[in-house]
Point group: C2
Chain length 218, copies 2
């Protein structure tokens, strides 16, 4: 349970100390991220597309229009890479060379397949909605039969998975610590501001608590 198996393709060659294969760590990064980046190749040209996603145990679900070129390509069972990245801060060192980011990222390699079973598809759609906004599924009109048909859901079993994390202050060269240069970390996070009502909102409706008190970190 505790760790994903390392493979040659997921083993970090450089700075291996930043790598982890721990399930809970991977889950936490996935659950905090709003979007993922899906990589796939068509005719030798890689494409990288941002999209929403959901996770159930060790399965990653992505979805979109049944007309989407990306999803249609992937549905054929080609290899994909799904990468999830959280930017936690700018690492400002005394030398340009040692500037870096604090970040947490996950790379999932595998082959995605279309989800045809309608119960699994509905569960996946539930997961997408609640991934973006926990509790939202209970608040909205759920998909009709026709909407289900218009939605292509793909499942990527998380078999080859690695996470990479950098935290903490800059690491400068010993000689540089005496330089009169400020160094440190500027933390960054994806932060909500006040909800904006739909201009067509019926009078008297207020944003629910999950919208008003939204936070990606738990």
């Amino acid at each position: 349970m505790s760790s994903f198996a390392q493979t040659d393709r997921t083993t970090l060659k450089r700075l291996p100390a930043r790598g982890t294969y721990d399930r809970e760590t991977v889950y936490k990064i996935l659950d905090e991220a709003v979007v993922c980046h899906v990589g796939f190749s068509v005719d030798g040209q890689p494409y990288v597309i941002p999209t929403g996603f959901g996770r159930i145990d060790d399965k990653l679900y992505i979805h979109g229009s049944a007309a989407s070129r990306m999803l249609r390509s992937i549905e054929d069972g080609i290899n994909v890479c799904v990468t999830i990245t959280l930017i936690d801060g700018l690492v400002l060192a005394r030398s340009a060379f040692h500037h870096s980011f604090n970040y947490r990222s996950v790379v999932v390699l595998g082959t995605a397949h279309a989800v045809d079973d309608s119960a699994e598809k509905m569960t996946a759609l539930h997961t997408f909605t609640d991934h973006v906004m926990p509790g939202r599924w209970q608040q909205v009109r759920i998909p009709t039969e026709a909407e289900m048909k218009a939605t292509l859901v793909l499942c990527l079993p998380m078999e080859e998975v690695s996470a990479k994390i950098r935290t903490g202050p800059p690491i400068d060269d010993e000689d540089d610590y005496s330089l009169p240069i400020w160094a440190g970390v500027l933390p960054l996070s994806l932060t909500p501001s006040e909800p904006v009502n739909d201009p067509k909102l019926n009078p008297g409706l207020e944003p629910p608590a999950n919208v008003k008190n939204y936070s990606r970190t738990h």
Copy 2:
């Protein structure tokens, strides 16, 4: 000057109204983003890796250790896709089906090459540093000859480029507007919090104004 040429590979097949090829729009998205996602294939397996970048006119620069597997692979002149994504908000509709994101993204297709000329390399490193933190290059120790050698810089000419943008409120089905469900947008942005001093900071040094007043939007 005003627009990138559309190619078959960069022409949006679905929702073409969300696509744009306007240079100023593309530049603005690139300049606001902290990282990009680089996609490339090795032995038929796509990889997507988050990394810092810089832009000079129509050239995108990425860099990293000369030992990096990603950069070594790309250096050979294989096709890459560099995608830049800004998440601007959650679009919360009355139906699960019409949930979406407000976002701005750019996709650049092309072939990257290594930058060997030391003047161009130094200019690129300057651009990386100031992309992350405007004005930082003037505040820090610039790279030595040895650091320059340890850094691999790649240039991706921005020839095939497209941007995709969604803004505004949710678009619901006509019948759903009467439902007693709150709908609207929850804006999101990558926001700095207070700078954290390096624990090894020399006494008396304060974060400079560019760190204290940092914002990705200009």
